[in-house]
């Protein structure tokens, strides 16, 4: 009898135990990174800007989980959690935040304008939205033309769905049945502009009909619900059945960027989402209920994440700044900058 119960529980789990543990780690890491970088930013110890993804980790981690290493990801500035889930190295991420040579862009860009095309297969984020959507179409076109079972995934926020490129990309992907998954992280605000001033239909997902692709709306506070929808969409794309639109609804708990107190978000709404749609807390509860982790295990994960953050911070501080003369290198392929080791003679103290 006991064996039967175990088997039933096992089959209800969407992923192997080790993967679920990794999911929990990534959710908690994303939350911790977000909170700590915000604190450092407020203390004036972090240069540049921060774009908090807090409250949306369920979307970011959930959509990336069905992707294989060779699949490509085209995220935005708010989707660092998705990039971490795709495989970015925390040390190099932090070197990027501090403008150091070991950052993924070698100091050419900061914070979450990050990507690792040759490693984790992620697009180096640009601010203009949704600038990566048409590019994801191009990557998907290449997979299709070569008969590869590789998938491209584009992520943007609700705000970017008002831009013409969003429509161009969805339309083009449907025409050619491209192997692409479109994710909209609907956190209900485009900077300060709420959903009702962004689009005239009740949901973003229903727009999928107009392009000729399936559309699905999920609760971003439930990472497993997000994962299930993404898995179906990725499988569909991989098997040649074309694109899917996923609208994952959450709330942006913090401002657009570190400087924004987000007073335009109604307090009741924020309270509600923090209480009942917290993707990290919800998944922790599920893991505890499933007996996949206990409080000790969560405490150990916390310690591990804190340790990794400290190591990342130290790594970033000891990584040199780029040498000033490198500013004009690397525009053209033929100057060899990007295929050579970067100079490491820059200062390690802020100039």
């Amino acid at each position: 009898m006991a064996t039967d119960v175990d088997a039933r529980t096992q089959s209800a789990r969407p992923l192997p135990e080790a993967e679920l543990e990794r999911m929990l780690y990534l959710l908690m890491l994303s939350r911790y990174f977000d909170e700590r970088t915000e604190a450092l930013y407020r203390q004036g110890r972090l240069p540049g800007a921060i774009y908090s993804g807090r409250g949306q980790e369920g979307t970011h981690v959930g959509v990336v989980f069905p992707l294989r290493p060779q699949d490509s990801l085209f995220p935005t500035h708010r989707d660092l959690s998705a990039q971490l889930a795709k495989g970015l190295d925390l040390k190099r991420v932090m070197a990027q935040f501090w403008g150091r040579i070991d950052g993924y862009t070698r100091g050419r860009d900061g914070n979450s304008h990050i990507g690792d095309w040759f490693g984790s297969r992620t697009w180096t984020v640009m601010s203009h939205l949704p600038i990566a959507y048409p590019v994801a179409c191009g990557a998907a076109l290449a997979y299709q033309r070569r008969g590869q079972d590789t998938v491209a995934m584009g992520i943007c926020g609700d705000g970017a769905t008002s831009n013409g490129r969003w429509h161009e990309a969805l339309n083009t992907s449907a025409i050619h049945r491209l192997p692409v998954v479109w994710v909209v992280n609907n956190n209900q605000f485009a900077y300060s502009t709420p959903n009702p001033l962004e689009f005239g239909v009740p949901t973003i997902a229903e727009r999928a009909d107009a392009y000729g692709m399936p559309g699905v709306r999920v609760d971003g506070g439930n990472v497993l619900e997000v994962y299930a929808a993404a898995k179906e969409a990725v499988d569909r794309a991989r098997s040649g059945e074309g694109p899917t639109l996923i609208e994952s609804v959450s709330l942006r708990w913090r401002g657009h960027a570190g400087h924004d107190p987000a007073k335009y978000v109604p307090k009741e709404l924020l309270d509600e989402y923090m209480a009942s749609h917290d993707p990290v807390a919800n998944f922790q509860d599920w893991m505890l209920a499933e007996g996949l982790v206990d409080q000790d295990g969560i405490a150990q994960l916390d310690s591990r994440i804190q340790r990794e953050f400290e190591e990342g911070y130290e790594f970033a501080q000891s990584s040199p700044y780029p040498e000033p003369e490198d500013a004009t290198k690397g525009l053209w392929v033929e100057d060899g900058y990007w295929t050579s080791e970067p100079g490491r003679g820059g200062p390690t103290e802020a100039p």
């Binding site: 490509s72 993924y104 862009t105 050419r108 860009d109 304008h113 990507g115 095309w117 040759f118 180096t124 640009m126 203009h128 600038i131 959507y133 048409p134 590019v135 994801a136 179409c137 191009g138 990557a139 998907a140 076109l141 290449a142 997979y143 033309r145 491209a152 013409g164 490129r165 161009e168 990309a169 339309n171 083009t172 025409i175 690397g330 525009l331 053209w332 392929v333 033929e334 900058y337 990007w338 295929t339």
Partner: protein
């Protein structure tokens, strides 16, 4: 008298006649030379593909890709919706995955409908991330064909300012072929701004060697002279050569420097010519204000000051939209007579 006056209805490209063939003695028009470049590179490298509006069965508005779909199929001669942002996006994304896209814009004017993808994405990917983008954007630019404000633009300064795209403006069929082939083989983003006035007007013997290349970023002296250097590119190379003929009959020796690539600029070739003539006229079809001619003039003023016997003279359109009516367009764009007059002003110093 001049070719501009023989322009017939439809010269802007709509409903154009078949592309045509080389003459029996091997001469090709600029249009044919460009088509040969694309065809040969598609034969040579299966990663190369074309995309754009109406380039498949229709063969493109100017017939550059006429007959391509029969040879290469709809996947390598890909018709797109009217979605210029996505045309550029498709090119970038597929280039990131190792393909070598050549995107046609029906008119270079419509590149501005994809401006953000060109100037923000295409131009900045490699500098920020080290991912090469072997992308070619090409399309017909320029005026002198009574095509008015939306079919006559010379957008080269806009994209030269983007700072990560090589901008090529060939004037002769051989240069067009050799530069197009170089652009397709280049690992960086390149923009080839063809000139629609030249397409069917100029023909010459064009090399048939499939590895005939013209280097990007190198100017070429199209006519040797000793009195005045005229630095120009595109259709105005031909108008300058016509002016130089007339001026020679009046005893003036004009050197014509064809930039061929406007970014990066071949400063050394410009300076060599100024050292020889000591007088510079810079002629461009793009706007005078902060345009290609302005950059050339500033380079001469800064780097060849001690060689100059006269101030640098400039000839270029005003910073406003190009008009339609023949009288207005002729007044707006530099003409052969304007070039002659400017050279004479310079010579009088």
């Amino acid at each position: 008298m001049t070719a501009t006056q023989k322009v017939e209805a439809g010269a802007a490209g709509h409903g154009a006649e078949p592309r045509g063939k080389r003459t029996e003695d091997g001469q090709a028009t600029y249009l044919i030379a460009i088509a040969e470049a694309l065809w040969e590179e598609m034969e040579r490298d299966e990663r190369v593909y074309c995309l754009g509006e109406d380039i498949g069965a229709y063969g493109g508005a100017f017939k550059v890709t006429e007959g391509f779909i029969e040879r290469f199929g709809p996947e390598r001669v890909m018709d797109t919706p009217i979605a210029e942002e996505t045309i550029v996006g498709l090119a970038i994304g597929s280039a990131m995955e190792g393909m070598r896209p050549v995107a046609e814009f029906q008119y270079a004017d419509f590149m501005s409908s994809g401006f953000d993808m060109i100037t923000t994405a295409l131009a900045r990917v490699h500098y920020r991330s080290g991912v090469p983008l072997p992308v070619v954007l090409r399309g017909p630019s320029g005026g002198y064909v009574r095509a008015s404000s939306f079919h006559s633009t010379n957008p080269e300064p806009w994209y030269a300012h983007a700072g990560g795209i090589k901008v090529i403006c060939p004037a002769f069929p051989s240069d067009a072929k050799g530069l197009m082939k170089s652009a397709i083989r280049d690992d960086n983003p390149c923009m080839v701004l063809e000139h629609k006035w030249i397409y069917r007007r100029v023909k010459e013997h064009v090399p048939e060697d499939p590895d005939f290349l013209v280097p990007i970023g190198k100017a070429d002296v199209k006519r040797e002279g000793t009195d005045v250097s005229v630095i120009t590119y595109g259709a105005l190379v031909h108008k300058t050569l016509e002016a130089a003929e007339a001026l020679e009959r009046r005893g003036m020796s004009i050197e014509v420097v064809d930039l061929r690539t406007v970014y990066p600029l071949d400063e050394e070739a410009i300076l060599r010519s100024i050292e020889k003539t000591s007088r510079a006229l810079v002629v461009s079809e793009s706007y005078r204000y902060a345009g290609i001619g302005a950059e050339v003039s500033a380079t001469i003023a800064q780097r060849a000051f001690e060689h100059l016997d006269a101030p640098v003279e400039r000839l270029s359109p005003p910073n406003m939209p190009i008009p339609f009516s023949p009288t207005l367009e002729d007044a707006f764009l530099p003409q052969v007579s304007d070039i002659e007059a400017a050279v004479e002003r310079l010579s009088a110093w």
